[in-house]
Amino acid sequence: MAETSYRQALHDTLREELLRDDSVILLGEEIGVFEGSYKITAGLLSEFGPQRVLDTPICEEGFVGAAVGAAMLGMRPVVELMTINFSLLAIDQIVNHAAKIHAMFGGQVSVPMVIRTPGGGGQQLAATHSQNLEVWYAHVPGMKVVAPATPADARSLLTAAIRDDDPVLVLENLALYNTRGEVPEAKETVRIGTAMVARPGEDITVVAYSRATVIALDVARQLAEQGISVEVVDLRSLRPLDRETICASVRKTTRAVVLEDDWLTYGVGAEVAATIQEGAFDYLDAPVRRVAAAEVPLPYAKTLELAALPDASDLTRVIGEVLDATRFSR
């Protein structure tokens, strides 16, 4: 085990995969000479050259679509989109092409490409640069969408994504890049499509992904000191969604809260809550609650941004409300 940052884990994984497989290439804006807006690709151009690390013009639809075609011929392109907000410029190529080509042509070719992109707010980047659009892609059959919360998962899920023969969107998060954690020396393989119990508990389940998992774990640690045992389920994969792990946890704890950075309506939390009411209805002692972002275009001003985004205190309060509603004795 070595401790490293989420950023370094992503970087090291890209480097390892470039070394391992000649068909892996990186494409994106400013990933080469500039070394990446968030420096994930630092040093890779000088090590692997412009054939393997391609700086693109500012044309998301063009270069994401080019990755689709290169993947159809057996390359394994890993595209960096500077933020998930810019994926909207490429959405036709992602939804109508990457996600369709394998099934629509009767399985004759696959599209083994990866889109790495950070989402999330909280950096005062204002309304157009702070969104969580992963659910748009998680909605689409043919896509795989993963959302690592820790450096270890960043490494294992990015590895799995690059080696997978389907288009995989790897959701990163601006606020996670500097977080640190243990990463096993041996490459752990996490299967896309599986959630994990990130922290076992008895009294209530919090379901989260990406940065929200980190918040949930912090809250769980704090509440443990008050005698409240919180189980945190980290989804890790938004499509496919591991409904069994979610329901198994809630059947045990009988209470559930979903925490997500995204807007509430039609979000991942809605899907998880619907899953719980179907898969654990008889076990529930209280309605499932969702803690999600206020539904406004995220404002720039810090006070407003903080008010809009869900945080540890929001989650702590809602956990308390659910426990109180079920006469939980602390």
Binding site: S23, I25, Q51, P57, C59, E61, G62, F63, G65, A66, A67, V68, G69, A70, A71, M72, L73, G74, M75, P77, D92, Q93, N96, H97, I101, H102, A103, M104, F105, G106, G107, Q108, V109, S110, P112, P141, G142, K144, D164, D165, D166, R191, I192, G193, T194, S237, P240, L241, D242, R243, E244, C247, R251, A274, T275, E278, G279, A280, F281, D282
Partner: protein, 362 residues
């Protein structure tokens, strides 16, 4: 066909002396097959054997055959949704193409794609695409992939990307041309200009209606060719492909021809006057090429009728094959969900529970 003895100009007035008669007869046979196939596809659509949208190459046969004659087997092809003729000329058997239109499991895309999404990986026809211009970025990326396979040269592979005149106004066309020129990719974009994007004339949709000039911002050389002239199309495409192979110089070729019918089978094309429709019919490239071959002594009337009859018969057989082919079974619905299977992949039918509930009361 290539081993036939060359005929001379004197023998066949109106055709180059290097052009083997057998090759020319072969082109006519292909054009006749496409003509027959498309007419029957329209009929099958009207009889509800074909669903969805159905766009025909009627009037574009010379363009189709000329382009496919220029494309080598090792090359890759991406097309728009108006793809039946290209599939046939690329070498797909008429039966599986018709079966795809019929939505049968013997179709070239296993009945998953339909008319707009014909695909054959072995023939390197990497798809008809239903979104206007959607094929342009992936075709560009395929050309990028080729640059990792080998050096430029006469034997190098190249990509041909077809698109309609309407697609030249979408952003990703321009993004793709820019990438192809910046990265020097072995690709030829062919704008099949039939004068109309659905019902909108080129002049009403494109500020530069000379579409072959639209590559100039990217220093991509363009050329316009008469799409009714199969040999002119072939020669222009071949030259552009050679530049792509040997110099990695992307090219832009515009072929000009006319759609003899509406945008799709269900479009009566009322936006065209009767006079215009009559004029276009008089330019119909299939009878025109037939007449040229007969006049040049390459084709006699008996042989011409035999080729026409063969085309009809091939299409009869294709329809029968499609009709007798099984429909995909509902149990196959999730067969191509993912190329790499992963846990928890959804395979629920409408109304199925999302999770198993232990001890659920029945």
């Amino acid at each position: 066909m290539a081993d036939q003895p060359a005929t001379t100009e004197a023998e066949h007035p109106g055709f180059p002396e290097t052009e083997p008669a057998e090759t020319l007869r072969g082109y006519y046979a292909q054009m006749a097959l496409i003509r027959s196939f498309e007419q029957r596809a329209a009929e099958m659509y009207q009889r509800a054997k074909v669903g969805g949208y159905c766009h025909l190459n009627l009037g574009e046969e010379a363009t189709v055959v000329g382009l496919m004659a220029a494309l080598a087997q090792r090359d890759y092809l991406f097309t728009s949704y108006r793809d039946h003729g290209y599939a046939l000329a690329r070498g797909m058997a008429a039966g599986p193409v018709m079966a795809e239109l019929f939505g049968r499991s013997t179709g070239v895309s296993s009945g998953r794609g339909g008319s707009m999404h014909l695909f054959d990986e072995r023939l390197r026809m990497l798809g008809g695409y239903g979104i206007v211009g959607g094929q342009v970025p992936p075709a560009t990326g395929a050309a990028l992939a080729l640059t990792y396979r080998g050096e430029p040269g006469e034997d190098a592979e190249a990509v041909m990307c077809l698109l309609g005149d309407g697609a030249t106004n979408i952003g990703s066309f321009h993004e793709s041309l820019n990438l192809a020129a910046l990265w020097r990719l072995p690709i030829v974009y062919v704008v099949v200009n039939n004068g109309l994007g659905m019902g909108t004339p080129v002049e009403k949709s494109s500020a530069e209606p000379d579409l072959y000039k639209r590559g100039c911002s990217y220093r991509i050389p363009g050329e316009r060719v008469d799409g009714d002239d199969v040999l002119a199309v072939r020669e222009a495409a071949r030259a552009a492909l050679t530049r792509a192979r040997t110099q990695r110089q992307p090219g832009l070729l515009e072929t000009v021809s006319y759609r003899l019918r509406g945008h799709s089978v269900v479009d009566p094309a009322r936006y065209r006057s009767k006079e215009e429709t009559d004029r276009l019919r008089s330019l119909d490239p299939v009878p025109a090429f037939r007449a040229r071959l007969v006049a040049a002594g390459i084709l006699d009337e008996t042989t011409a009728q035999r080729l026409d009859a063969q085309a009809e018969k091939d299409v009869d057989d294709a329809v029968r094959f499609a009709d007798e082919s099984p429909e995909p079974r509902p149990e196959e619905l999730f067969d191509h969900a993912y190329a790499t299977p992963v846990p928890n992949t959804p395979s629920r039918l409408p109304g199925d529970p999302v999770v198993e509930v232990p001890g659920a009361v029945g």
